[in-house]
Amino acid sequence: MGWRTDDELQQMLRDSAIAFLGDAGGPGHFRAVRASETGFDADTWRRMAELGWTGMLLPEKLGGAELGLSAALPLAEELGRALAPEPFVASAIMAGTLLARGAGPVAAALATGLAQGHQSVTLAWQERRGGVGIPAFGTRLAAGRLQGAKVHVPAWHPGSALLVAAQGDDGPVVVAVDPSASGVTLVVARATDGTLTADVVFDDVRVTADAVIVEGDAARVALEHAIARGTVALSAQLEGLAKALWHETLAYMQQRVQFGGALSEFQALRHRMVDLYSQIELAAASWRKAAHCVEEGKLWGPAVPAAKARCSQAAQEMGRWAIQYHGAFGYTDEADVGLYVHCALRWSSWLGGASAHRRAALMAHRGGKGA
């Protein structure tokens, strides 16, 4: 661990994650979910709920643990290490943040279902592919009718509940929409982490008043927090993934003998491994700083985009050199290294890729100096 430290609660959650994911996570589980039609393992999700993970951010009265982001992040890191395709970030963190701030019986029912692991919940907010930050929504809710389109809705599967961010008459609004309702069209694609994503069109879809989860300024703030928290948690997952892949690669290098020595003894390779490890250390420090900022309500500084940029970059670079140091074997589907690389592709591009976030960090820095 070195300089990295958990508080008591974080350490407890991390220990339970390591114990649970030793059986329930890892490459075998990843392959099974990837091969499944839905890209979602309801049984594992339910067991994560029993551990209190899915309702981590939800109020106790709705069956949640009512904890903050900092408690959730060691879990995210361990889930990344274990290549877990479960929608922890999309559902427990992002949708969970919105539901925790929601009001009304529909919000409460969704929150309870999420905390109990009966379902996962996903948030449709993006209207363009890629980029950083919350756009002005073209999707509109007017007179109880929803019109518009969303792209890249994460963690889609037939049993998931759908939250939609739209522009209402008085500012932004987040509503629950039944995906089987009349006027909803879904185009589903498989992501490289084995999960499904959906592009969704809403054509004059009826939305009742009680389906409004949060609206107005509260909705804007809730969305900002949901996306910032999701970005930090996804960063922690990426760093965990990169670290696991570093160790996986070292283990291979130590047993692979060429030219009379293990690969791990060659200086050129050792120096590269040090540099990759340095990037992972920067990544770990960067998401911890970002988490601290988000918990203090400082969402708009450079910390969050810097963290997502560094963690995305570290995971992708680690993937590149993991394949290289596994040799041709690393290019096979049979080797687990490819699973990490595919997972890193999805996680590093989702919620904004490295170069977009680097620019965002610089702009936040420049903007902040004048303020």
Partner: protein
């Protein structure tokens, strides 16, 4: 002299007091970050003024006349000096030699040398590297042979910083050629005006002559100037205090260089240039994340948890970031990079070529990047 125990102040009060003192007392002509380093009489003056005001030797224990400050407060001192854009100070005597004397010196050595270091009367230089012993320092060959009540020293040292204005030198010499190379080294102290000792400055790429060669020709060094036991110099030289190793990985120079880069991007109208923006964004994230790592590692060190591997990594990251930023500084000034003295403009005297050149040796001194990577890889991957 300030008599109050600074450790009793809250961090905020301590910081405010130091900041006030700097604002009222720090000479304006020294406030040229990155390229300015205090030397000779300037350095003596700095030690004298901090001594008289009760700020000298923050890491030294109180019994030797230091402040005995917590690591946390030492780091606050550094932060405020960066913020005030203070010049760099080497302080080889206070930072490098003093811990050695405290741990291995005799009472006579401590009482003779430490007070003069505190008061800024003695400046010391470090005689370690030799022409054939750089990264592989333990292969050094400057010899010391016992001759009555003295050692007779012959050989050559090189890359000795600020030897030209030093009063004394601490030097590693070979006292035994028959044993493993680390086991035959001793640690000696000498006056720079000892007969047979000559200094030749070396002009470097930043137009400075602070680095020197030192020649020893039958130099007689009193036997009482041996620090620690004979042949134990390799162990003796490893004593360090406080935040030294953390400071080697501090983001100070990269952060200051990045400010220069941002100023240039603005004054040269490049803020909308996509290529410049992309590179600046990448460099900004390097500085930002290094600062995040450095502050979390410092927090761990304050708790007493020191992670040796990450300290070596941070030194490599900080110095390579400094170099990368200094290269981009010359890139954005385009053809002016070919001028002997390109500056930012009338409002700032910063010589941009000098920033670039000062960044060059940072990846060589205090453990070259390649050696650091060897050490870190041994810690992470087992010895090869």
């Amino acid at each position: 002299m300030m008599t109050q125990d600074l450790n009793l102040l809250s961090n905020d009060a301590f910081r405010a007091r130091w900041r006030d003192w700097l604002e009222q007392n720090y000479p304006a002509e020294w406030r040229i970050p990155i390229i300015r380093r205090l030397a000779g009489d300037e350095e003596r003056r700095w030690h004298r003024m901090t001594y008289e005001a009760g700020w000298r030797a923050p890491a030294w224990p109180k019994q030797y006349g230091g402040l005995g400050l917590s690591l946390e407060k030492q780091l606050i001192l550094n932060e405020e000096m960066e913020r005030h854009r203070c010049a760099r100070v080497l302080d080889s005597g206070g930072v490098l030699l003093a811990p050695v004397l405290m741990k291995y010196g005799t009472d006579a050595q401590r009482s003779r040398y430490l007070p003069a270091i505190l008061r800024g009367e003695d400046l010391w230089c470090q005689g370690y590297s030799e022409p054939n012993a750089g990264s592989d320092l333990a292969s050094l060959r400057t010899s010391a042979v016992r001759d009555g009540e003295a050692f007779l020293v012959n050989g050559q040292k090189i890359w000795t910083t600020l030897a030209g204005c030093a009063d004394r030198i601490f030097v590693l010499v070979r006292t035994n050629k028959e044993v493993k190379k680390q086991a035959g080294i001793s640690f000696l102290l000498a006056d720079m005006d000892t007969p047979g000792l000559t200094v030749r400055p070396i002009l470097n790429l930043a137009d400075e002559d602070e680095l020197c060669e030192i020649f020893f020709e039958n130099v007689r060094i009193p036997a009482e100037n041996l620090v620690g036991a004979l042949d134990q110099g390799w162990t003796v030289a490893k004593a360090l205090l406080g935040d030294e190793r953390i400071s080697n990985g501090a983001p100070t120079l990269p952060r200051q260089a990045f400010e220069v880069l941002e100023q240039l991007i603005e004054t040269r109208g490049l803020a909308e240039d996509a290529g410049v923006t992309d590179r600046a964004a990448s460099l900004f994230c390097d500085v930002h994340d290094l600062a995040a790592l450095h502050s979390q590692v410092a927090d761990a060190a304050i708790r007493g948890e020191v992670d040796n591997a990450v300290l070596g990594m941070m030194k490599v990251l900080a110095t390579e970031a400094f170099q990368n930023i200094s290269e981009e500084i010359l890139n954005v000034i385009d053809e002016d990079a070919g001028l002997q003295t390109p500056t930012i403009g009338a409002e700032s005297p910063l010589d941009l070529r000098k920033i670039y050149m000062i960044a060059r040796p940072s990846t060589i001194y205090a453990g070259a990047s390649e050696v650091q990577r060897n050490i870190v890889s041994n810690a992470l991957m087992g010895k090869s």
